[in-house]
């Protein structure tokens, strides 16, 4: 895999492209982009057949080992790597150690091993074992193994240990990578940790730079432990880290941010030159029964357009698509009322339709980001999206307060007024878009 930056705009944001994939040399994945999160090698809830109805082009798949390590024996027997094994050979893969969309127990570290929390229990993984698995998974991109799951509130001692362990493991990964025949066409990405302590972050960056001739990219981690609270970091705090790390590293390598980040964080990261995100946010929304309904038209001010909670009874007779102008398979044929019925009856098609919409819509958010970077209007777009996210946040806060209202009828009244505000205007918001 090779990465080129195509367009550097007036800010730090850039459009780039990943290309030179072994199996499909002509295919290109443009950045900034979100990968599609997989579980057991498959895009969550979608078969290869359905996925091909959603996206006609090749996508980057995010393959966390924590939900796919059990494919090892089958992969060995087949010998062609995880994309082929999972029936997704026209797509590209980035294998990572963990899935930051999941919360896992803390601790359990050993000197040179980190715990992998799988459905089949805890497995202690060393860097050597990790690289053994990479030779079996044969991904296009390898995120080096790291001890990186921690919030920005983490104490100094834990951070110091994580930098130490990550450093040692990166050395092993690099050594193994250099001599591996199987991985010659893969791109090794080093993980930077220690974000909460500037001295430790510095150390992690210095260590990364020692291998800069080998590493094709950097992944920023150690920003969150995966919990809601730790994902809810003030944006300026993250902004400083995005900027600092980006500035300290060569520009021509792939910049990856790991974690289940909301659109506001993602667009902020993009503005500092970060290229690839793990896509788990879209999956999280689908699993909650939520549908993303961002308005991408910067000429229209749509405060209350962000997401729908389709579990809500208010949708039971709304025979309109999730988003009127959306061209995804779910919006073309199906209604809010139907999806709400599927959620209410716990039918699997609910997750399928929500995944189709959210993955498509999330992908569109990146498409529009690239367009705006190319025309030097990214700052306007970023503000436009962040505004939608923030007004949703404050609305939701009001809703949560309404829920604590002791008078039930008043509570229902307040809530329904707020829901109405979200739902009534927005299904047409993107009609004139694109």
């Amino acid at each position: 895999m090779r990465f080129f930056t195509k367009k550097l705009s007036s800010g730090s944001e850039r459009v780039g492209s990943m290309t030179g994939f072994l199996k499909t040399p002509s295919a290109v994945v443009e950045t900034p982009t979100a990968a599609l999160l997989t579980q057991g090698g498959s895009v969550v809830h979608l078969t290869a057949d359905v996925l091909s109805r959603v996206f006609s082009d090749s996508k980057l798949l995010w393959v966390p080992l924590s939900n796919s390590a059990h494919l090892e024996n089958g992969l060995k027997a087949q010998g062609k790597g995880v994309a082929q094994f999972a029936g997704l050979q026209e797509h590209f893969t980035c294998v990572t150690f963990q899935n930051m969309n999941e919360v896992t127990p803390s601790g359990h570290f050993e000197v040179d091993k980190v715990p992998l929390w799988t459905k089949h229990g805890k497995k202690m993984i060393s860097a050597d074992r990790y690289m053994d698995l990479m030779e079996v998974f044969k991904p296009d991109i390898i995120l080096a193994i790291a001890d990186s799951r921690m919030s920005l509130e983490e104490g100094y001692k834990r951070i110091a240990k994580s930098v130490d362990r990550t450093t040692k493991m990166l050395n092993t990964c690099v050594e193994r990578y250099k001599v591996s025949k199987e991985l010659q066409n893969s791109c090794l990405v080093g993980v930077v940790v220690g974000c909460a302590q500037s001295r430790k972050l510095e150390e992690s960056l210095q260590h990364f730079l020692r291998h800069k001739d080998i590493l094709g990219g950097v992944a920023l981690s150690g920003l969150t432990d995966g919990t809601e609270e730790s994902n809810d970091v003030p944006i300026d705090k993250l902004e400083a880290i995005f900027e600092k790390v980006s500035n300290a590293l060569p520009k021509d390598i792939l910049h990856v941010v790991e974690g289940c980040w909301n659109p506001a964080v993602i667009l902020t990261a993009i503005s500092y030159g970060w290229d690839v995100f793990d896509g788990s946010y879209a999956v999280k929304l689908s699993n909650l029964g939520h549908a993303l309904i961002l308005n991408f038209d910067v000429t229209r001010d749509m405060k209350s357009s962000y997401l729908l909670d389709l579990n809500d009874e208010c949708y039971k007779d709304q025979f309109v698509p999730i988003l009127e102008s959306c061209e995804c398979l779910a919006c073309e044929k199906h209604t809010r009322a139907y999806i709400r019925h599927l959620l209410n009856t716990r039918e699997m098609l609910a997750s399928v339709l929500l995944s189709i919409h959210n993955l498509y819509h999330f992908d569109q958010m990146f498409y529009h980001a690239r367009q705006h970077i190319l025309t030097n209007t990214f700052e306007v777009y970023k503000k436009h999206i962040i505004k939608q996210y923030e007004s949703y946040r404050s609305l939701k806060l009001e809703m949560d307060i309404a829920e604590t209202e002791p008078d039930h009828s008043l509570q229902v009244k307040k809530k329904s007024k707020l829901v109405e505000e979200v739902t009534n205007n927005n299904y047409k918001v993107n009609c004139n878009n694109i």
Partner: protein, 396 residues
């Protein structure tokens, strides 16, 4: 006309026939298997996937749909077709079977079925009129009369007699209550459990009604196969050949082959999609339980001769890895299992049209039972319609 049925070809030896059933939403080629989409969805599959699988008609459950989303929503949207974005044919059951299978507290009187709602505990009375009202609202092409359902293995003859006769009385009430006869066809249900006298009586009474097709009910409920097939045979013998006959709740491959030979045109069963959720894939000889360790490194598809999207793309080894963990595994096996059913029905139809149905049945059975250890019920049922399975190996 809400339904026209034309027989396109007959086997000549057995009672099997290939037909075309023209319904308001689709022309259905028979014999046909109808997958069951209980709550207005086919277990995780998109309508376009079902179309690609050649599904021409699918089932919905009146009892479930009447509760959720409810008739008010279905009325507003203009029926289940629109609600679930399915443009082909639909059939709904009457809700009576769920009363008995799901609800222990159902009380059946002449008026209807009284039961406690499992959703909110309130008392509900499902009458023949109410069932048809809901089904009119759902708007399926074919709808079922409410029948008085007794467990198939039930022994009390008085109760069976009462249920059979009540079913006929309820049929009259259903037909009277039916408000959309130009768009929907009510099928009466032949009852009588395993009592051939009552069954004959039930079928003969239904024959006198102005209906477009018939269902054979009260079977496939745990009775012995030796008891099962004569009841099917009796049904297709009494019911006239100009109208389609639908055998309820049958979906296992050998049963389908035997019953097509006995003259049945339509089948439904939850089996292909339910067994998929347990990780079982249908193959000619039965099913593969993909959870088993032996598939861990098996790089062949579920069925190398199958052309479904699952078999074209995925290995047994891969599905083994994700089975019972990822919803995708369930979707993949459902696609294959429905494709398997559709392929079997299509093959039978082609053989009927080509005049090769008898040979097909013989070949099919010898593949399923390679040692010619045919169960007696299969030997006897096929013999009754002129296929002698034994002559093959007896002559050796």
């Amino acid at each position: 006309m809400a339904l026209t049925f034309s027989v396109q070809a007959e086997c000549g030896v057995t009672r099997a026939r290939a037909g075309l059933m023209t319904l308001p939403h689709y022309d259905v080629k028979t014999p046909v298997f109808m997958p069951v989409g209980t709550q207005g969805t086919m277990k995780g599959l998109l309508p376009e996937q079902l179309e690609d699988l050649d599904c021409e008609i699918i089932l919905g459950n009146t009892y479930h749909l009447g509760n959720r989303p409810g008739t008010d929503v279905l009325k507003k949207v203009g029926g289940l077709h629109k609600f679930m974005a399915w443009n082909r044919a639909l059939l709904t059951d009457s809700g009576g079977f769920q009363m008995v299978s799901l609800l222990k507290l159902a009380e059946i009187t002449e008026e209807g079925v009284k039961f406690k709602s499992p959703y909110d505990g309130s008392e509900i009375m499902l009458t023949p009129e109410k069932s048809i009202e809901i089904q009119n609202c759902i708007g399926a092409d074919i709808i079922m009369q409410l029948d008085d359902v007794v467990q198939t293995t039930f022994q009390d003859n008085d109760r069976i007699k009462e249920a059979t006769e009540r079913t006929s009385r309820w049929l009259d009430r259903c037909l009277k209550a039916h408000s959309r006869p130009l768009e929907q066809s009510i099928f009466p249900i032949v009852q009588g459990l395993l009592n051939s006298e009552l069954r004959r009586q039930s079928a003969e009474e239904h024959m006198r009604k102005n209906v477009n097709g018939f269902a054979i009910g009260g079977l496939s409920g745990g009775e012995a196969k030796d008891d099962f097939w004569p009841m099917v045979s009796l049904g297709t013998e009494v019911l006239d050949t100009r109208r389609p006959r639908y055998l309820m709740g049958v979906g296992v491959a050998v049963d389908l082959v035997v019953c097509v030979a006995l003259g049945v045109d339509m089948f439904d069963c939850v089996y292909p999609t339910r067994t998929a959720r347990f990780g079982c894939a249908l193959v000619k000889k039965g099913q593969l339980n993909l959870k088993q360790k032996q598939y861990e490194t098996d790089l062949t598809p579920i069925d190398k001769d199958c052309s479904c999207s699952t078999c074209k793309t995925y290995t047994r080894a891969y599905i083994h890895c994700i089975v019972s963990v990822e919803t995708v595994a369930c979707h993949l096996i459902s696609v294959h299992n429905i494709a398997f059913q559709m392929h079997l029905m299509r093959t039978m139809r082609e053989n009927i049209i080509n005049g090769t149905f008898v040979q097909f049945v013989k070949n099919f059975m010898s593949e399923v039972f390679p040692n010619y250890n045919y169960p007696t019920w299969i030997i006897n049922s096929l013999k009754s319609v002129g296929i002698n399975l034994c002559e093959n190996y007896c002559s050796f």
